[in-house]
């Protein structure tokens, strides 16, 4: 489908969503009025008629809302498959994008970067090669929902992007780099008895600014010094400043995990006031951020490890 065809198709679906939603809301409002008029009426026939109208309008509203929801899902699917995918293919190689898939709860939990709570959702999974470097990314939402008696509350522990980059150095241990101002993340060293990670030890480096900005835990201090060179510390600080939100890093099993708590669900198209070019621009900016990670951290540097051909 070309740009015009996509725009036409999207516009027609959006019109039908708007129609279904507005009609559904009208049914709902009229239904409520009939219910109220039925209650206030003193004649039995009027009550019966009002209640019948109320029941009919409620059923109609429900059907219309379900149809509207289905059309919205279809609308998002078309935009993601036609617009988003082609944008991603423009920026990256070997693109594998799955709107409904994401990282598994186990995978995120295994990093022990975030308290896992009892609600987990991940979507918009993408694996590809960015400037020759393999990466995976997904949106992740972790919440803790509690209810006691009549009251219930939900605490969001993480909402944002999770990236996993193939790292250009071989390492064996685990290294966590936790931003000191990162609310929502685990703020303390993982408890030894509850942790599946090897024994972690708090480490400091030569750069006082870096030590002020981050707290590092490593299972192997030599490995940590090998990964975090003075130059790399500068790059991490720059990257973190560029993200302008809490960021955590972890080196685990050959990958660098970057968890960005920006409180956003990326790649989601708006239904009302959708602008195709604006959406494409947003995707381009998101992709530029991924290129920026490779560029700042020099992940495409193959001085230390030969890269597999993609």
């Amino acid at each position: 489908m070309d740009q015009n065809q996509i725009e036409q198709k999207v516009a027609s679906i959006r019109r039908s969503i708007q129609f279904l939603t507005v009609t559904g809301l009208t049914c709902l409002v009229i239904g409520v009025f009939s219910f109220i008029s039925g209650i206030l009426s003193s004649r039995q026939t009027s009550i019966d008629g009002a209640m019948a109208a109320f029941a009919f309008l409620m059923i109609a509203a429900i059907i219309l809302f379900v149809l509207s929801y289905m059309r919205t899902t279809q609308y998002k699917r078309i935009i993601k498959n036609e617009v988003l995918k082609s944008c991603l293919e423009k920026h990256f190689d070997n693109v594998n994008y799955k709107a409904e898939a994401g990282f598994s709860r186990e995978e995120i939990a295994s990093t022990e970067l975030v308290s896992m709570g009892n609600r987990f959702h991940s979507n918009d999974y993408l694996s590809a090669y960015c400037d020759g470097v393999y990466f995976e990314r997904s949106d992740v939402l972790v919440q803790d929902h509690r209810s006691s008696g009549k009251s219930s509350y939900t605490v969001t522990l993480f909402r944002g992007r999770w990236m996993k980059w193939e790292f250009n150095k071989n390492f064996h241990g685990v290294l966590q780099i936790r931003g000191n101002s990162s609310l929502g993340f685990r703020s303390r060293k993982p408890f030894k008895w509850a942790s599946s990670l090897p024994n972690m030890e708090k480490l400091t480096f030569e750069n006082p600014e870096f030590n002020k900005q981050f707290t590092c835990y490593a299972s192997d201090s030599e490995d940590a010094y090998y990964l975090i060179t003075p130059h790399f510390m500068e790059k991490l600080m720059k990257l973190t400043d560029d993200f302008d939100c809490p960021v955590y890093y972890e080196f685990l099993q050959g990958y660098l995990h970057i968890a960005i708590y920006n409180d956003k669900d990326a790649f989601e198209p708006k239904v009302m006031g959708f602008d195709l070019q604006g959406y494409q621009k947003e995707i381009d900016e998101d992709c530029a951020l991924l290129h920026q990670v490779v560029e700042i951290l020099k992940l495409d540097d193959d001085h230390f490890k030969a890269r597999e051909e993609n």
């Binding site: 150095k169 071989n170 400091t204 480096f205 030569e206 201090s221 030599e222 010094y225 090998y226 060179t229 193959d302 001085h303 230390f304 490890k305 030969a306």
Partner: protein, 177 residues
Amino acid sequence: MGVLYGVLIGIAVIGIWFISVYNSFKKMVVRCDEASSGIDVALAKRYDLITNLVATVKGYAKHEESVFTQVAQIRSLIKGNRSAAADQLDEAKGKLLAIAESYPELKASANFLDLQRSLSDVEEHLQASRRLYNHMVAALNTKKEQFPSNIVAGMIGESGRDFFQADEIQRSRVEIG
């Protein structure tokens, strides 16, 4: 009686403090030794890689005998004078890479490129070991100088450690790749 209890409690507190400072000194010394052995491992690895590089270069440049002999003599230095061994390995590596510049076939061979990559990696490990060692030494020496832990250091004869210094040759080492 009260004075006796007071003295006993005072002695116990000082004893506990002494033991904890003593243990932390011992722990720091062990960590320094561990970091120091990391330097030895990286130097030995680097020596092995340079030996392999020599074997590869030999296949193309048989007449560059002086460099090959120099590498053969370095091994004995690794255990004794690590700083000198590191300097000489740097020098030998520089010469080997300079030789490779004159042989395009050698420079393009997969084996040579692999060795270059491994050498970069081992250099990075060596650098990490040195930084870690110096960081540990700095922590040990600071504790040794600070009051009141300097009292315990004096009592147990803890004299601290010397930093691993990079001299001029290492500072101006040849970039590869």
